[in-house]
Subunit: 159 residues, 4 copies
């Protein structure tokens, strides 16, 4: 979709604040590279503890990065006082993620009342060369009336 | 499937050895709880660095655990001198993973020549109560003639 | 899940009535074999026009049958004055569907406020032998305040 | 991917011949609109027998059309004396398919030795307006040494 509009004028701050409250993203060294309404790009540098037995990024880690990118791409469009939930994640592993860093970009392709559909791709980067290592489709839910903060207070009947 | 037979009499040692060579699994504290031909169960205790903004296990982490369980469930059936590759991962997030530990079990449901189909589930465990938090279907490939060790030497024409 | 309860005491009539209003199901000769709250089994006999180039049931047709079974398994739990929508369908093709009939069973594995998660399997049947030919996971949405009848009147803000 | 090359110089004839041997495609009135190496577009006109209870194209039918487009997009790249098998299909339903025709396009995004990854989209068309109604990712397998003709003779060890 083009020219997606966020329902929250303060989306940039809200998304970056939520991202900074995900201990797992800090643990694995993921960063927001780019953010605009409905599109989010995350990057992650290779560290040995993120790899599998062949020395590549662990597939689960590749998927985790893309799942987070998709969640924040959706969340960037949501109104205030809401949070995001992954309903479903479907990814194909195209090539080994054997680069020195990963770049995951997800974008919203359809906006429903509660359901947002997204697509996403991960590239493995090494010495300026990019290898397409994952593609996928995600379903995200917008939970209205529910705080994104840790002690989330679920408003009765909100979902 | 019932009564699955491994093509490798030494499957238990081979799988545990491969698992021990996945730095990412050690990094997140995942352990093999149970292993039999075609079935693998992994567990992981909650640590703050594995969580997202609501204090639950990060969804990507839940998926990573199940992906590894599925990979090793398939690999447990493979012949010697082979390795495993995730082709595709499809998971639904059923409930927040807000327990003190996770248990992921995957099992092979169909064996092809190169393609293995698996299903898997993750339960979040807290004070003896189990919550079903993820279900999924996986496609794994058996790469014959390719070592599972880090400096994998790909035999020409093997796949 | 066990002991699923429908929110509609009249679910059996409502599901069969909706099924009978799907021209495509009549066109391909699909029938309801079994129905209970949260579980639906459909069958379809082989006819040449349902096949692909190898003479097997067309894969899309196998998926269509399972999608319908999943939709009605979810719908059987819904309250009155609602309808069902497939959000997402993920299926693996395990074996060729080369039997004389198909049997597709889907069941609800998790009930949310609006989102229902289901799993399903299709067996190809020939001379009493069953071959597992498809497995999958589905996400269905419950659209409240929206009629299941053809000229659906969507109540503003219902979804 | 750009500039995909078919391994079969005669791909156009081979794909159209295979398509013409799918009784199900004729039954539902699907046609090849466009075909180039790695990309296939199919169309289908609305007929009442292809609809569900709301009068829209049945979701299974929408998925069937996209599955066929994906299969032939992959098959268009294969060498002689091979056939195609869907390993896995993952689709999201974005909007009701309430147009007077459907157009499904699938394209290969990655070519492996045996495994081909594809993406695809379906648009519902009505009075010149297009609605994006489905997006998905597919895994297709190339079965070498196996005829695409009905009485397929499977060469031992071919897969």
């Amino acid at each position: 979709m083009t020219d997606l509009q966020s329902k929250n004028p303060d989306f940039d701050r809200v998304v970056r604040d939520s991202f900074s409250r995900q201990p797992f993203m800090a643990f694995v060294g993921a960063k927001i590279e780019d953010l605009s309404p409905g599109i989010c790009t995350l990057t992650m540098a290779r560290r040995e503890e993120l790899t599998q037995q062949h020395g590549f990024f662990h597939g689960g880690m590749v998927g985790s990065l893309l799942d987070s990118a998709a969640g924040y791409a959706a969340f960037s469009l949501y109104p205030e006082n809401s949070t995001v939930l992954t309903v479903d994640m479907k990814v194909n592993f195209l090539n080994p993620a054997n680069g020195t860093s990963l770049r995951a970009t997800a974008s919203v392709i359809n906006v429903g009342d509660k359901i947002y559909h997204l697509k996403g791709d991960v590239y493995s980067i090494s010495e300026g060369e990019e290898t397409h290592c994952m593609t996928g489709v995600f379903t995200m839910m917008c939970l209205l009336g529910m705080s994104d903060a840790p002690n989330l207070g679920r408003i009765k009947g909100a979902v």
